[in-house]
Amino acid sequence: MDTKYLFKRHNTWWVKVAVPRTLKKELGFDLRESLKTHDLNEAQKLRWPIVDQFKSKINIARARLENKNLETKSLINAATHNHMPVTDTSDPQYYHKVVDCQYACPAHTPVPEYIRQISQGNYADAYMINWDSNVFPGILGRTCDRPCEPACRRTRTHEKPVAICRLKRVAYDHKGDIRDRLPKAPKKNGKKIALIGAGPASLTVARDLVTLGYELVLFEKDPQAGGLMRTNIPAFRLPVEVLDEEVNQIINLGVETRFNSEIKSMKSLLEEDFDAIFVGTGAPKGRDLFIDSREEGKKNIHIGIDWLTSIAFEHTTSIGKKVIVLGGGNTAMDCCRSSLRLGAEDVKVIVRSPFEDMKASEWEIEDAMEERIPIIDNHVPKKFLLKKGKLVGMEFEKVKPEYDKNGKRSLIPTGENPIIMECDDVLVAIGQYNAYQWIERDIGIEFGEWDMPVVDKTTFQSTHKKIFFGGDAAWGPENIIWAVAHGHQAAISIDKLCKGEDLTNRPDPMTNLVSQKMGVHEWSYDNDISQDKRFLVPHADQKVSLKNLKVEVELGYDEKLAFEEAQRCLNCDVQTVFTESKCIECDACVDICPTDTINFIANDSEEELRKKLRIPAINKDQDLLVSEQLATKRVMVKDEDMCVHCGLCAERCPTAAWDMQTFLYEESRTYSNCTSMDIKNNQPKYA
């Protein structure tokens, strides 16, 4: 349900546009007007002229203020060049940056918000928050590369991050039937979009645009949709049922599919009547290893991703007893673990680089090692060895890494005798690349370095205005969550293109900041920090899982474990909001803060201020929150880096100068199911 800028009061729909902090004196907290209708559909139509009117009012006021400020600013600047200005918390990115996990996520999923829903047992709500933002919660909850976890604030106080990824899986596993919450495609708007490749990027574009009335045609060379999620991720990590459910969920919104139809010519596709074309073909080619006897041994030398694909479509069902996997990435980990399940008895992973430099995710390496697969590092493959025309082994050279001043690594041979390893099959998993031989070079798409198309980083548009790229197809291999993020942006661009709008004018994110105060010392979030260590996800018995490719290794958290793990979340989206005018400088917040983030000191330049804090703030990735000057001529400076969001500053503040306010940040998308909405009651959750 789309209620952007809308809210309900006494059953009547109103329009509301937030006013930036700097203009609050002039325009008030927000601009609002009643639409005098009880009907949401009508309100949705009526809102836009009013929203535009409000926005222009804000813009005029802002321009006026800036003009006035410019004159006084130059005077003030001269006098206070070594003073930090008051922090502008109305900038959506200020508080967003404090929510480390959400900020690190390419799709900016509101992580703490869905974790709170999990701890309250609202799994379906948690799922929908995810579905809105990352489209594949069940898939990502099992396979995501989790850029959010290393960013988790827990790691700053020497603890392991919250198991964000596996909690996402909990939302999927326990969500129940959510079909009635999914949107329905409206009447077609007459615009037709082609999507090439049915992977996560294209499917995201499809989800975002089909809900707006676009007609979408999805071309896929394989017989089923899913892209690398189906072909390259083995079923023991991602069960087919999960994949099918989330992929079909999108297709069933009304996306036309053309399976088994590989696009062989962009030129001829352009001749069809598509208003835009999105290329989400991934990086489908696996790198090969051209060393001695490659050609002669080809029967038993396989390219990793192709081999995984043939397993996914059940063309391959067995492998030799002794298997060597070359490469140190996640594909190598999937290859070695798949080999075990196809009956191999001796599987080794051989890596050129040192163990520490391996590209695979830490947990993927751990899972492989837990299945007792040896990982041998610093071995460079030299040749394949054949006997009577059949592959029998490989020869390696031992190397050691040396790093120069700039940290650049070179592998220096140790001079030891070559190492021979026996094998029946070799899986080459040493990288992937794109191949665009199907795109003619004379149709207006410019190609640049590495023979890759030139794609705009913001709009995802190629040099041909109708053609967009996203996912691995745009800039080479990344992860699913990046493909999703690309898909959202490409959908915005395609929508703008079809509406004849400027593509570079990107929509603002939606933000909301609401106090969590319920009583004198009561908050509507749990501020008592859990001291539990990260909970392990239970695994299936290896006796069973190693024998069957389709038995999922991870069992996922049950409800109790999920609750305990969810409680470890520090609620970093509950912000410490400071109101200068209320502060009496009693020091209570300084004394209670468990991580010594709050300071009352004389203002100075940022560099000096960072040094002078109670504990110097050395992490420049996180900002300082600087207040206006207080009665004693000092300023309040808070180091956002170490705050654990326990809310004790607000609890011990006698005047409520500190308040704990939940900050909701929704990255702009063409489709929004309104995370901020109480879906059951059709009302904003935090109003």
Binding site: C586, V644, P654, T655
Partner: protein, 352 residues
């Protein structure tokens, strides 16, 4: 009241002292006092001072009477000894404990009611005897625990929160303590830790009766416009004897920035130094008469004089006056206390 415990999570770069402890190790449970109470800042200053002086918490005894102030020892130094005595009777307990074991550091925490009213008789004698204790008065000029009546330290021009006039003049506990022979007397403000922490460290290093009269606003009953002990009033009327007070621990040399002339460095008995920078003209805190004069002058000008008011680093404490053995009395065993028949005979014969 805060119901949750303060998280154990702390800043990874928190300083560690010579005992391998962080400041957090010197804390106690979360205070149950009103949010914003000056007393909590004083507790934090005690924590900071003990941390910086590398004091082992189990070598400290916290003693108090009754009142908001006297509850605070529950909120700092959780590993220390403690005794929450009868109202105004903390000095007796401190005297007894001190005589039994003079090796501990004694920290008496009291309020204006506990000291200037019900406990006045006890207080004056502890001062007079130079009991070796750091006596902190958390002075808010009101009976906060009984909803804001005037206390004996409320200034006459002050009004209650409900608008009544105060009929009686205030007792100046700092001036009185100097009169009665205290060898370390300071006044400070809970909202000024830069001054309070060094004073506290000096008091903890001083031998003899150390009084710190800390003005500590009662955020609930005495932080209003007509109060003379509100945060705003004290900030406006604070008249510090020195622009900066600094405590230099034993063995640390004075750095070049401490210029002679305007500054005064007072060596304490244990070798540490209390350095007062840019001290007021013609003021000598080692001169009793000048100190009393200065306090009176400030009062007349409507100012609150803070900082180190008087010090006599060479004064004798109670133990020396009574010439008590170096072994703490609680460690003397029967063998030490009953020297035996032969020794008695020896003494007796010497008297013949």
């Amino acid at each position: 009241m805060t119901y949750i415990t303060k998280p154990v999570n702390h800043h990874p770069r928190l300083k560690i002292n010579k005992l391998g402890l962080t400041r957090r190790d010197y804390e106690g449970p979360v205070s149950t006092l009103c949010a914003g109470c000056g007393h909590d800042s004083i507790s934090a200053a005690i924590v900071e001072a003990c941390f910086q002086l590398n004091i082992a918490a189990h070598q400290v005894a916290k003693l108090s009477g009754i009142g908001c102030s006297s509850k605070t020892p529950g909120y700092f130094l959780k590993q220390s000894h403690g005794f929450n005595s009868v109202h105004g009777r903390m000095p007796s307990i401190a005297t007894g404990a001190n005589l039994a074991n003079h090796e501990l550091t004694y920290l008496g925490v009291s309020g204006d009611g506990d000291t200037a009213s019900i406990g006045m008789g006890q207080f004056v004698h502890a001062v007079r005897r130079q009991l070796n204790v750091v006596y902190i008065i958390e002075n808010n000029g009101t009976y906060g625990l009984t909803k804001g009546q005037f206390s004996a330290t409320s200034d006459i021009e002050s009004k209650s929160k409900y608008g009544e006039d105060n009929l009686f003049p205030a007792i100046d506990l700092a001036g009185m303590a100097i009169h009665l022979g205290a060898s370390f007397v300071a006044r400070s403000f809970s909202g000024d830790k830069e001054q309070l922490v060094p004073l506290m460290k000096a008091a903890l290093s001083h031998k003899g009766f150390s009084l710190i009269d800390v003005i500590s606003p009662c955020v609930t009953f005495n932080n209003h416009k007509n109060s003379t002990k509100s945060y705003d009033y004290i900030r406006e009327h604070n008249d510090s004897v020195a622009s900066m007070t600094d405590f230099i621990p034993i063995g640390n040399t004075i750095t070049g920035s401490y210029k002679q002339g305007k500054n005064l460095d007072i060596p304490l008995h244990d070798g540490s130094i209390l350095s007062l920078q840019k001290i007021s003209k013609n003021y000598n805190p080692e001169n009793k008469i000048e100190a009393i004069k200065k306090i009176q002058q400030s009062e007349q000008q409507g100012k609150v004089l803070t900082g180190l008011l008087y010090i006599n680093p060479k004064a004798k404490d109670l133990k020396e006056t009574l010439d008590i053995v170096d072994t703490p009395l609680n460690k003397l065993v029967e063998k030490d206390l009953c020297p035996g028949k032969e020794k008695i005979n020896q003494i007796n014969s010497s008297l013949k």
